[in-house]
């Protein structure tokens, strides 16, 4: 009797574990679709960047983000979440004075938020790795963008340069999504 109960409980736990485990295939599909959609919306916001050549700046994104190599899945998810969060806060706080198309911006922020939620759900499974040097560099990178905008007084060309830089960020996110492949 006791053995039977233990056996059934074990089977139940295994099934529950299988059901609740992260499906990286689905997560990768979701992240790719959301990233592509955000990139398209952001591309629509960029107008005449050729007139802002004097305001261009190399923000020096970390190389391990630009070209991820042998990144663990958990670490890739943490980095992705940080990038999405920084981008969301960058546009959420300061876009009102830019004169951009509000519909495009709202859709852009909505998709960012949804993408972060999916990532947070997947990150709840298992342990979250502690902050690494990559995370520190990443935070410094986005801080530099914010300081640039402040220095340029959030001018149109400054925002154009930032938009182009964030557009590159989404291309790097695609590389991190590939790290979620089984």
């Amino acid at each position: 009797m006791t053995n039977r109960c233990l056996l059934r409980l074990t089977i139940l736990l295994c099934l529950a574990g299988a059901a609740l485990s992260v499906n990286y295939g689905v997560l990768r599909f979701q992240q790719q679709n959301s990233t592509s959609a955000c990139q398209r919306l952001l591309r629509q916001l960029i107008r005449s960047p050729q007139h802002c050549l004097d305001d261009t700046k190399d923000f020096q994104i970390p190389e391990e983000v630009k070209q991820p190599c042998q990144v663990q899945k958990k670490e890739a998810m943490v980095v992705m979440h940080e990038m999405l969060q920084q981008i969301f806060s960058l546009f959420w706080r300061n876009f009102s004075s830019t004169g951009w198309n509000e519909t495009i911006v709202e859709n852009f922020l909505q998709k960012l938020h949804w993408q972060m939620d999916r990532l947070e759900e997947a990150m709840q499974e298992g342990e979250v790795p502690s902050e690494s040097r990559t995370m520190l560099r990443l935070k410094i990178y986005y801080l530099g963008i914010v300081r640039y905008l402040k220095a340029k007084s959030y001018s149109r060309c400054a925002w154009t340069v930032v938009q182009v830089e964030i557009l590159k960020n989404f291309s790097f996110l695609n590389g991190l999504i590939d790290a979620l492949r089984d």
């Binding site: 790719q32 398209r40 050729q50 340069v161 790097f172 695609n174």
Partner: protein
């Protein structure tokens, strides 16, 4: 010095060339303030080479020559650079393989169109390859076999030589789709530095004798930027085994059909013969449903039939000694009743009722209780009447009282002392008993089916037909004065002949 003079001449010539080609080749110092987007730029990856093409929005402007400049927003303050391959070109496109090497860079092209030295158009644009570049599918051919398809992809013989990690094709994959009967399967191939020349990919595990269509396209981050190639279809040849299987299947079907046909015909024949599924159907001629009543004649009224009473007579059988001598009354007396209505297994003897006539045992004949039954109408002669029969033929008839002498319908044999032959119910005309006893013909008559008609108005000597054989009983006709059974007239009986009748009409059994 001669070479010194030549050098000066060359410098002067180049200076003149620059003066004349100034508007086209001189790098613009500044970008115009106003955005001039009168050109539509399009970047296409063709054979792993980024090709920038352009189209003027104002089609009325028709430059004859184009010059392309470009820069990017990498932040390195890259000045506007001339693309030498596309300087003063007449084509409306430019190969930027060696200039545009990163997918994640914002490139800024600038186009100057001129005609006869005059600048007709000066436009610029922005291209981000990761989102704006269109991926053209490579050329390919297919060849179908029994269970697989060879897809031969035509790649350029060599990739552009760039720095490691550079090239717009590095992060792309090639998708090969096979479609059959509405089902599409995808095969992904990673493109790398070794993807050069003609490359053959095998799609295996396919079904023979089936149509398959193949299409290829390059897959990037944005599926909408991929151009899918037209479908190329082929039908795989059937396997030789499949033909044999098909032939065997056809043969099996034929055998099955023949078997079913034979069984079905056999069952039909048996049913028709009636060996199985016997029909309980009444023939049509006997089906009187719905037939009009007039089709059936009325039954003839039943004739009045005198009641016949069977009287059991126990008497001894008399054996006829073939004597046609005198009819001795004594013998008769001895055996009136015994012979009355005697019925032996040899024939039918009609004996009227002879009252008082004792039943005498015929020597040689066993006592037997006999009952005399009158035959029915129909096949029996009409002259037959109730009572004893006496034929003129070979049959001997005992004539006790009450015996009937007809016209010959019944043969009456000679009496005998010892016995009497039963009367012949089937007379043979008027011929008398001329034949020897040995030639007599005996008939077995079922009294149950014999009817005797009592003629109307006949008197006396005619016996009333069959009469009961028993002494105790006899035919009674209350209307007639015919005496009772015991008093029934009997021609040869001791008793006086009487006019007793058994009734008119037919006496039915």
């Amino acid at each position: 010095m001669p070479w010194t003079g030549r050098a000066v001449a060359m410098r002067l010539a180049s200076l003149c060339l620059m003066v004349h080609a100034g508007p086209a080749l001189r790098a613009p110092q500044t970008w115009p303030e106003s955005s001039n987007e009168s050109c539509i730029f399009r970047l296409t990856l063709r054979d792993f080479r980024p090709i920038l093409s352009w189209e003027l929005k104002n089609r009325s402007i028709m430059p004859t020559h184009y010059t392309l400049w470009h820069t990017d927003m990498s932040g390195s303050n890259v000045p506007l650079e001339l693309v030498p391959e596309c300087a003063n070109t007449t084509r409306a496109s430019c190969d930027l393989t060696r200039h545009w090497r990163s997918l994640t860079e914002m490139y800024l092209p600038r186009l100057v169109g001129s005609r006869g030295g005059a600048t007709l158009v000066d436009c610029e644009g922005s291209i981000f390859p990761d989102t704006d570049m269109i991926l053209e599918p490579p050329e390919f051919e297919i060849s179908g076999f029994e269970d697989h398809i060879n897809v031969t992809l035509k790649f350029p013989p060599a990739l552009p030589k760039l720095q490691p990690g550079e090239g717009l094709w590095l992060h792309l994959s090639l998708s090969i789709e096979e479609e059959s009967e509405g089902i599409v399967k995808q095969h992904l191939l990673q493109i790398g530095e070794h993807t050069t020349g003609n490359f053959t990919y095998v799609i295996d595990k396919l079904a023979p004798n089936t149509n398959y269509c193949v299409s290829v396209y390059l897959k990037g981050n944005f599926l909408s930027n991929s151009q899918q190639s037209p479908w190329k279809c082929t039908r795989l040849p059937p396997r030789p085994d499949s033909e044999a299987l098909a032939l065997a299947a056809v043969q099996g079907l034929v055998v099955l059909f023949l078997t079913v046909a034979v069984l079905g015909s056999t069952l039909a024949i048996l049913r028709q013969v009636g060996y199985i599924c016997l029909r309980s159907k009444v023939p049509k001629v006997l089906n009187f449903h719905g037939m009009a009543i007039w089709a059936f004649p009325e039954w003839p009224p039943l004739e009045a039939v005198a009641v016949a009473e069977v009287i059991q007579v126990h008497r001894k059988r008399r054996v006829w000694d073939y004597s046609y001598g005198d009819e001795s009354d004594g013998d008769e007396e001895a055996d009136p009743r015994a012979s009355a209505g005697a019925y032996t297994m040899h024939g039918l003897a009609a004996r009227p009722l002879c009252p008082g006539s004792p039943s005498s045992a015929t020597p040689g004949a066993g006592e037997e209780a006999e009952s005399l039954m009158a035959p029915g109408p129909g096949p029996w002669p009409a002259e037959r009447s109730g009572g004893a029969y006496e034929g003129t033929g070979n049959w001997g008839a005992e004539r006790p009282g009450g015996a009937y002498e007809g016209q010959g319908s019944w043969g009456a044999g000679p009496e005998e002392e010892g016995g009497a032959w039963p009367a012949d119910p089937f007379p043979k005309g008027d011929s008398g008993p001329t034949e020897s006893p040995g030639d007599r013909i005996f008939f077995n008559v079922d009294l149950n089916s014999v009817l005797v008609r009592v003629p109307d108005g006949e008197d006396s000597g005619a016996p009333a037909g069959f009469g009961p054989l028993e002494e105790t009983g006899g035919l009674e006709d209350p209307e007639d004065s015919t005496p009772g059974p015991e008093e029934a007239p009997c021609g040869e009986c001791d008793t006086s002949p009487s006019n007793a009748r058994l009734g008119d009409g037919y006496m039915m059994r």
